[in-house]
Subunit: 428 residues, 2 copies
Amino acid sequence: MAAPLRIGLAGLGTVGIGVVQIVQKHAAMLTARSGREVVITAVSARDRTKNRDADLSGFAWETDPVALARRDDVDLFIEVMGGHEGPARDATEAALAAGKDVVTANKALLAHHGHALALAAEAAGRVIRFEAAVAGGIPVIKTLTEGLAGNEMRRVMGVMNGTCNYILTRMEDAGLPYAQVFEEARQLGYLEADPNLDVGGIDAAHKLALLASIAFGTQVSFDAVEMEGIGAISIDDIRHAADMDYRIKLLGVARMTGRGLEQRMTPCLVPVGSPLGQLSGGTNMVVLEGDSVGQIVLRGAGAGMGPTASAVMGDVVDIARGLRIPTFGVPATALTVPVAAAVSAACPWYLRMTLLDKPGALAKIATALGEAGISIDRMRQYGHSDGQAPVLIVTHKATRTDIDDALARFAKAGVLVGEPVALRIEEV
Amino acid sequence: MAAPLRIGLAGLGTVGIGVVQIVQKHAAMLTARSGREVVITAVSARDRTKNRDADLSGFAWETDPVALARRDDVDLFIEVMGGHEGPARDATEAALAAGKDVVTANKALLAHHGHALALAAEAAGRVIRFEAAVAGGIPVIKTLTEGLAGNEMRRVMGVMNGTCNYILTRMEDAGLPYAQVFEEARQLGYLEADPNLDVGGIDAAHKLALLASIAFGTQVSFDAVEMEGIGAISIDDIRHAADMDYRIKLLGVARMTGRGLEQRMTPCLVPVGSPLGQLSGGTNMVVLEGDSVGQIVLRGAGAGMGPTASAVMGDVVDIARGLRIPTFGVPATALTVPVAAAVSAACPWYLRMTLLDKPGALAKIATALGEAGISIDRMRQYGHSDGQAPVLIVTHKATRTDIDDALARFAKAGVLVGEPVALRIEEV
């Protein structure tokens, strides 16, 4: 049997302790599956005195994760600290430079520095695996990089922020406004310290950028993701969507078009009867479309101790078994620089706005749409109250540019109360 | 760059031609992803003169797949002929003996001879991969063997025969009886030459036995799968189930219990709102439950040229990249001989029967259930017609043994018309 795989574990929060628990509880199973022992030799975390739900007495302790990454008795460095700068980045770079393989759950780190880290790993002859960084326990990185390796990918989609999906589902189920459900989620501890990472779509956009890199063989390009949070979604939007047999999801979509790489993380309407439309609560779902395989849908817990630790351990066993593939599926030097699609593909749009109760207000909106080259599929004006009239429009296919043009014309027309809401209707 | 990976392809039916098409169309992509060229050097099929939808002129031709398996210019033998004896078995054994890796789509071969082949592969230092053998394009073997390698598996479930799911869905949607939809499916070419492979549950049971081996570290034990086809399901059953918010699926379930390994492929009722309940048409779904990851659901096309060839090519790229893991996830010598659970776990049951219109008939049935130790959750008797009364019963949790006891008592009571239908209600 090969020598044991010796792990240095940086970060003893929920995920780190989950990893310790699996390694300790399932030692024999991991040995059988890996063909070698999997052992943790050293750990690091900020506070050594904190009470943690695992026996750490057998591990060497490093206060500095960089020192941990460089230890001679570490073959594999696991980074579950988080943060895309500072200790996480420094220690990951140090680990690669010291000839260690890396397993990380850090989507922000890879979204910002993935290409540089992939180059560093390959220069050092080491690998970086990051299953836990995307969609928690769902083995989507593996499925895309390995299982579907025979496919030219057409489109990658995902609901990959459980907190946003929880908020949208709860708004619909309980008929509560966004602000109230947001506050509930905060009190339940579902939100990041900076909630904009969740509800602003940033966290999910990190994940999408990683999937897009693998799917299309391009360098990670997080800055090019069109991003829009769920803060503007009202209970009315959710109800209008439901009336038309749609649900609203914070949906990531990436595809390679003739005009370049399209990446977006925005609230979209999806059919109620589709797998994405049926997804409720904090669960994640990823939809992968390839030229041979058609559509593959993966569903599971997107966060939490067990699922995230499961993903980390899948990577650990891969490395223990000797699987060595490039970070994003092809050598980093072969990844192309993506041209961001200046115009995303045309799709139907859902538009909701409130009009002043003035003669000709609706006509001005219809005219503005016509001038922007957008034709109307359905339009509905609701009864006036307080001198205001809610209006709902579903358009035929239009680009983001067309819609932005129309929204600018709406603003000039001087008949709007507040900001209109414009959401894509995604064919799934 | 490493030397090219040279493929010998045995079988030029739908799947074989799909593989040829991917290798030819995506040569550059496969090279980038594999780190080496992937080439087909030789092929074999029964009829060389047949017109096929691919250019085969660049490949050597062998009439005998065993000769193909032994060629010096073949590193990897792909078996997509089918059949669990004869040429498929002979050629697979010959390939391993000649030091070739094997990729196969042949569920029957592995369900019957998987353990012997795994032993042979490991003795020869070769690997067998078989993603295409289970659930078509869905990378479920990879997910279970690799992605969830950190989990002790709790339960594996799946709808893995698209034809059966098509028949059941079509019966429900069109309100047509089984015999008529069966005939439709036959005319559409959805059925195997021996339709019992589909509607008898055999094909799906082959797949379940392979998943169970990986999930529980046991030698493939196809003979121990409790198997029941869909032929006894009537449109009435489908309607009664729908009235109670259930759908009927040919569902495979494997789990390790305190009493041993439970494997069954039988029609079950599942909640309409669950992912399994929402699955319609020919699509496949596999549900994997692990102690850390919770529940992972995978959905996709379970058959067809593109999806099956995609699965084959995923295995090919794995082997080209150097991934070498034991056939069933742990060395074949470490697989345990499973003890088949003599009694499968208790669950609620759906019972449908037709009673003679005699005084006391229903009381006799209720008494028989009580004597078998089964308590009734719901019972409904429908109006009599022609001196017969349909009766529907949902039981509290009972074992298969209890139910068989009750069914024997029903028969003795002499009040039944025809055979009763007994289906598990699976918690999903």
